[in-house]
């Protein structure tokens, strides 16, 4: 007898591209692209991929470079070199200031202009998110998901992420204390994503899914923003997705995150890969399937960039979910990350196909 089967994420996840190491062999030139998107930041790896691409002769018709409104002076350190690479890549380098509240529409307009012309081929876009803050990753992915383009995401992993185990164990309070600088200090703003505002019309309690960082105050600020009465509570309405780095040498960070955020066995928590965005996607899906009809769901993807990318694809798949950002007052430019290690690529390819895949989750099929 036939059965109606709902298409689950597990059915389609294999069709989404895996993250894979990225290299530029001489015989396989990368590009050309219609748009290259990157960010001016203070980390050394800000320069890695643009430098690599410029050296390989890669060209893009246009380049969009996001510029932060925090740590402005520190970011300047990389400006000259980054722009030298970007100018080698393209004749049209367009800076977009995150200080402009309407910068998302500026990006949309740029994307629209790529599709001009009746016979234009599908535009090709590369998004280097190596030093993009998670709010940039989420917002840009949301806007890209609307576009009819081919997308590659590139990512340069840092050589050293601070604190190192030795740094942390020598002086844990330096990294835990809210008044100390650590990786970042303070919470400058908490705000819902313009692109993923959720659909929170109805009177339901809130549930928050948090990716904690080394600063507990960021997660707490998000909980406070969503519903102050949830602070300090435990239960299915506060789910902690603790980052699990792929390298064995960094595994201690998972335990440190739990310690800093005071997570106990009573807290609802799961470990989620910091590199494999599909792990984020599947974990969020399993949580969503339990909670969607009883809570207004908020995700705060302040963990790794790949977790943010997974969160944005998830929110695209479930537009009833809201994304909320907690933005630090300042980052510790002197001790955030050092150098670079591997470079990675996610070859999404035609975005309409990615959209169709994500949108198919939840559809019914009648099986014979």
């Amino acid at each position: 007898m036939p059965r109606a089967r709902k298409i689950e994420l597990s059915t389609i996840i294999g069709k989404l591209p895996d993250i894979q190491e990225f290299d530029l062999p001489e015989d396989q030139p990368y590009g050309p692209d219609d748009l290259f998107i990157c960010t001016l930041g203070f980390e050394p790896r800000c320069l890695k991929l643009p430098g690599m691409l410029a050296a390989s002769g890669y060209r893009s018709e246009r380049v969009v470079v996001f510029e932060y409104d925090t740590n402005i002076d520190e970011n300047e350190v990389n400006r000259e070199e980054l722009f030298r690479y970007l100018n080698a890549i393209s004749d049209r380098v367009i800076p977009l200031s995150l200080g402009n509240p309407d910068h998302t529409n500026q990006l949309r307009q740029i994307l629209r202009s790529l599709n001009l012309g009746a016979y234009a081929a599908t535009p090709r876009i590369t998004f280097d998110l190596s030093v993009a803050a998670n709010r940039i990753v989420v917002t840009t992915m949301a806007i890209l998901c609307e576009a009819d383009a081919d997308l590659n995401v590139l990512y340069s992993e840092a050589e050293i992420y601070h604190p190192t185990k030795a740094e942390y164990q020598t002086e844990p309070s330096t990294w835990q204390s809210e008044s100390a600088l650590g990786l970042e200090r303070g919470v400058g703003d908490v705000r819902p994503s313009r692109e993923f505002p959720g659909q929170h019309f109805d009177q339901l309690p809130d549930a928050v899914i948090l990716f904690p960082t080394f600063k507990a105050e960021r997660s707490r600020a998000v909980i406070d923003f969503v519903d102050p009465s949830l602070i300090g509570t435990q239960g299915e309405h506060i789910v902690w997705l603790v980052g699990a780095p792929p390298l064995d040498g960094n595994r201690w960070r998972t335990e440190a995150l739990k310690e800093i955020n005071r997570l106990t066995g009573k807290d609802f928590q799961r470990e989620v890969s910091t590199l494999d965005y599909k792990d984020t996607l599947t974990t969020l899906e399993s949580i969503y399937s339990r909670l969607w009809d009883r809570y207004k769901l908020t995700i705060s993807p302040i963990g790794s960039k790949m977790q943010a990318l997974g969160s944005s694809l998830f929110a695209y798949m479930h537009p009833d979910t809201r994304i909320v950002f907690a933005i630090p007052q300042e980052y510790n430019a002197a001790q955030y990350s050092d150098g670079w290690r591997k470079t990675w690529k996610i070859e999404f390819g035609p975005l309409p196909e990615v959209r169709n895949l994500l949108e198919s989750v939840g559809r019914l099929e009648v099986e014979a």
Partner: protein, 848 residues
């Protein structure tokens, strides 16, 4: 296996070519003029034709071979049995037809002339009109198809080719008043007896299931759908699987049951999953109004002895201020008509208002949080107002929709089908959607609601893409809507329409957005008023031009914190006590507990006379002075959720269960109160923004209050002396508002302390020494047990502006300054050593 009977490709092409058709075709008793080909299948083609009177008809030309072993007359006779059922297209005529076609001279067919139905097939409709596909359409569809399947069962027939191309969504004829789309089944030329069952892969029932899957997927593909539609889809999935159930004894196959189950699914999906009997599993389930989805439960638990209820329910505009957890949301939701309608025993004559509730903390905030500048707000001002109007209209419609199931209430409110139509017409007229899709058999209100929700999503997505919305609902729209409601349903003249906008705080809705919305809120109308709630200093009551300033002044502010503190000042402490008791007793009752607040907690009593004396004269190891309902009521300076938290902690520590009736030991009560107080104090550090700064201020000032209590000179009161209790700060304001003399940093900290109700700003007082006003701040009482201070107030830290500035910048130094010059008791500290060291409060290492 015999070859399938079907048209050859060439013959099909030939039949679809207008050039091959004669000018007239005779079928049965009539003659028809071919107009154009409509469709082609395996066994025939369909043409639109016109009869001799000019009436449109559908002519199906079927392969003759299919009728070698049966007569077409059988099918016509079968179809005749279905003529009385409106879902089926009528067969007018039938008979052999011979056509001269290229390569097929004198080719015979069987012609069936069927009623012409102007519309789209289901699959075409789902592709073309995706945005209007809704749960109510699906239920309407299920209703029609179930009736059709029931008719087939009753006549012993099966359609035998009920694929989605044979179901038409028929448009209403042009000019028909109240025209609705109808679902019609066509191609009646395949009718067969119900027995034996079909040999085809799918019978009528399974085709029906396919249609439902297609409609489900069409709703799902809209993506922007409210949770009620998501819940409905989830219900549909279960029903579809039930329709496909292998076990025939439990399979959902009876058309009457199918129709009923889908209607129930729509009804269930409209409201959140709630506890069916509106009971609590524990008295402390849902500590915050935001957590209660069940309106009936909310009404049942509401404590009407709330000291500021009377002010709040007056039929005047008001602004209720206070922090989260002070009871604003509960009050507003209780004032909403929807909540009262959810309670079957609610006496509607008791309420003088008809409230419609929305919360800015949810949808509005998420939509407009990015509109942070005046320029952006002005750029999108039409869209912001439009969205706000849609959101409030949605709430009105949702409320009226909840009347649907209650005939008695419909009668009370005078809400019948003509009012429903008037409301629908009004909304559609304003949205310029006269030609909106309306489906047979679905309530007009539900369809209107779906249109509103669709427009909300459209508005947001257009704004996201930087586009303008047209048309938009103007600022005057709500006034017209409420005028209509008052005219159509006179009960609304008796019960003032109130829009209850909860959490209208800058923290939730940026000031530029509020300024735009104020054009709607301040529009003076006799047919409605607005009541707002916000955090203290949270509402932006001006509009950009300042023209609404006079109206803004008309809005009475009810500050929850002040209301509670004023009870003490006005010797009305018993009101706070009654509220604290009722709050708990209502919950105990809903959770089926035997004990009452009075039995389980009891009254407060101290051998020393009062709490302050008890604290100061405490003996080593004694930990029981914070106890009793009077004490708990005093802890509350507007914190309803904190009260509940204290009760919960006491019940847990005292192991109170449903059958407990004995009093929780005083020491357990004491520990619970202090623990909650400490947690509240610690939570300040997590507040955003300025959490750590505020924590520093409140910890240090709390310690000062306790130090003065323990060491300060007693003061005279009538014939006796009393200990000094001064949780208040009074600052002379010789040059107007104290805030204006603060630095930006100090001012933002001061505002945050007030916004979060860490300090409650009382009405300005008059200085004793000069003819100037004083800024009066009182520490929120819930923090006092953490520092082991008493809860009353009989004195204040009276200082100048310079001290206040120091206090905000360096609370440690400012408090030391006050304590150093405070007159001390000659007997010195009367406290036990363990009072002198409060972890987290006294330890300098903990201070930042």
């Amino acid at each position: 296996m015999a070859d399938r009977i079907q048209l050859s490709e060439k013959l099909r092409e030939s039949l679809l070519d207008s050039a091959n058709m004669p000018t007239e075709i005779s079928v049965g008793t009539g003659t028809y003029t071919p107009n154009f080909p409509v469709a082609a299948g395996y066994k025939g083609t369909v043409w639109k034709v016109t009869d001799k009177f000019g009436r449109p008809r559908a002519l199906k030309l079927a392969v003759l071979d299919d009728y070698r072993e049966r007569s077409y007359l059988e099918e016509v006779r079968r179809a005749a049995k279905l003529e009385q059922y409106p879902a089926f297209a009528r067969i007018d005529d039938a008979g052999p037809v011979t056509l001269n076609l290229p390569d097929h001279p004198e080719h015979p067919f069987i012609g069936f002339v069927e009623e012409w139905i102007d519309g789209d097939t289901l699959d075409e409709f789902l592709k073309k009109s995706g945005s209007v596909i809704s749960p109510s359409l699906m239920v309407s569809y299920v209703s029609t198809l179930s009736s059709a399947l029931s008719a087939l069962q009753a006549t012993g027939l099966r359609h035998d080719d009920l694929h989605s191309g044979n179901v038409l969504i028929a448009k209403p004829p042009t000019g028909q008043i109240e025209g609705e789309y109808q679902i019609r089944i066509i191609d009646m030329g395949s009718l067969k007896p119900a027995h034996p069952p079909t040999t085809k892969p799918k019978d009528d029932h399974h085709h029906f299931v396919d249609h439902l899957v297609e409609i489900h997927n069409a709703i799902h593909s809209k993506r922007s759908i409210p949770i009620s539609e998501r819940r409905f889809l989830s219900e549909v999935e279960k029903l579809i699987n039930s329709m496909l159930e292998e076990d025939a004894t439990i399979r959902l196959r009876d058309p009457v049951q199918i129709k009923h189950q889908f209607e129930l699914a729509l009804s269930r999906a409209s409201t959140p999953q709630t506890n069916q009997n509106s009971q609590l599993t524990s008295p402390f389930e849902f500590l915050s109004a935001e957590h209660i989805a069940d309106d009936r439960l909310l009404v049942d638990m509401f404590a009407k002895s709330c000291p500021w209820l009377e002010k709040a329910v007056r039929a005047d505009p008001c602004l209720i201020t206070g922090p989260r957890g002070c009871g604003k949301s509960t009050m507003f939701r209780w004032m909403s008509l929807k909540a009262h309608l959810a309670d079957p025993v609610s006496d509607l004559d008791e309420i003088n208002l008809a409230g419609f509730y929305i919360s800015c903390a949810t949808d509005l905030q998420n939509r407009f949080d990015w509109v942070t500048t005046t320029e952006l707000a002005e750029q999108y001002n039409r869209e912001i107002i439009h969205y706000f109007n849609l959101l409030l209209t949605r709430e009105v419609l949702m409320t009226l929709n909840s009347l649907s199931d209650h005939e008695e209430q419909r009668g009370y409110w005078g809400f019948g089908s003509s009012e429903e139509r008037a409301l629908r017409d009004f909304v559609f007229r304003h949205l310029h959607t006269d030609s909106i899709f309306q489906m047979q058999g679905v309530s007009l209100l539900r369809q209107t609601l779906e249109v509103i929700e669709r427009k909300m999503f459209d508005c947001h997505s257009l704004m996201m893409s930087g586009s303008s919305v047209w048309p938009t609902l103007p600022a005057s729209y709500l006034g017209e809507l409420t005028s209509l409601l008052c005219k159509a349903m006179p009960r609304f003249q008796e019960k003032k329409i109130v829009f209850l906008v909860d959490d209208y705080s800058i923290h939730r809705l940026p000031a530029p957005v509020q300024q735009v919305l104020n054009r709607v809120i301040w529009e003076r109308r006799s047919s409605h008023i607005f009541k707002l709630s916000s955090e203290k200093l949270g509402a932006e009551l001006r509009d950009p031009s300042g023209t609404m300033a006079e109206l803004a002044r008309e809005m009475v502010e009810i500050d929850c914190g002040r209301e509670y503190l004023a009870l003490e000042d006005n010797r009305k402490g018993s009101l706070g006590y009654s509220f604290a008791v009722e709050l708990l007793n209502n919950r105990l009752k809903k959770a089926g507990y035997s004990g009452t607040a009075e039995q389980l907690i009891g009254i407060s009593s101290w051998p020393e006379g009062n709490l302050a004396r008890a604290i100061v004269s405490v003996k080593p190891g004694r930990r029981d002075f914070y106890h009793g309902l009077d004490c708990i009521a005093s802890v509350c300076s507007g914190d309803v959720s904190t009260l509940l938290l204290i009760y919960r902690r006491m019940f847990e520590a005292g192991q109170v269960d449903r059958n407990t009736t004995h009093q929780i030991p005083k020491n357990v009560q004491h520990e619970s109160i202090q623990a909650v107080s400490r947690e509240m104090l610690e939570a300040v550090e997590a507040y955003f923004p300025k959490g750590p700064d505020m924590h520093r201020v409140v910890s240090r000032f709390g310690r000062l209050v306790r130090d003065i209590l323990e060491n300060g000179r007693e003061q005279k009161k009538e014939d006796a002396t009393v200990l000094t209790e001064c949780p208040r700060i009074e600052i002379d304001q010789p040059e107007g508002s104290a805030y204006s003399l603060l630095s930006d940093e100090q001012e933002s900290l001061a505002r945050e302390l007030v916004r979060r109700a860490i300090f409650i700003e009382m009405e300005p007082g008059l200085s004793r020494h000069k003819n100037v006003t004083t800024l009066r701040w009182q520490l929120r009482r819930v923090y006092l047990p953490a520092v082991r201070a008493s809860l009353a107030k009989n004195n204040a830290v009276k200082e100048k502006m310079e001290w206040f500035q120091l206090f905000l910048s360096n609370p440690e130094e400012a408090c030391s300054f006050v304590f150093d010059k405070w007159q001390k008791r000659k007997s010195g500290p009367g406290s036990h050593p363990d009072q002198l060291s409060m972890p987290g409060i006294d330890s300098p290492a903990q201070e930042r």
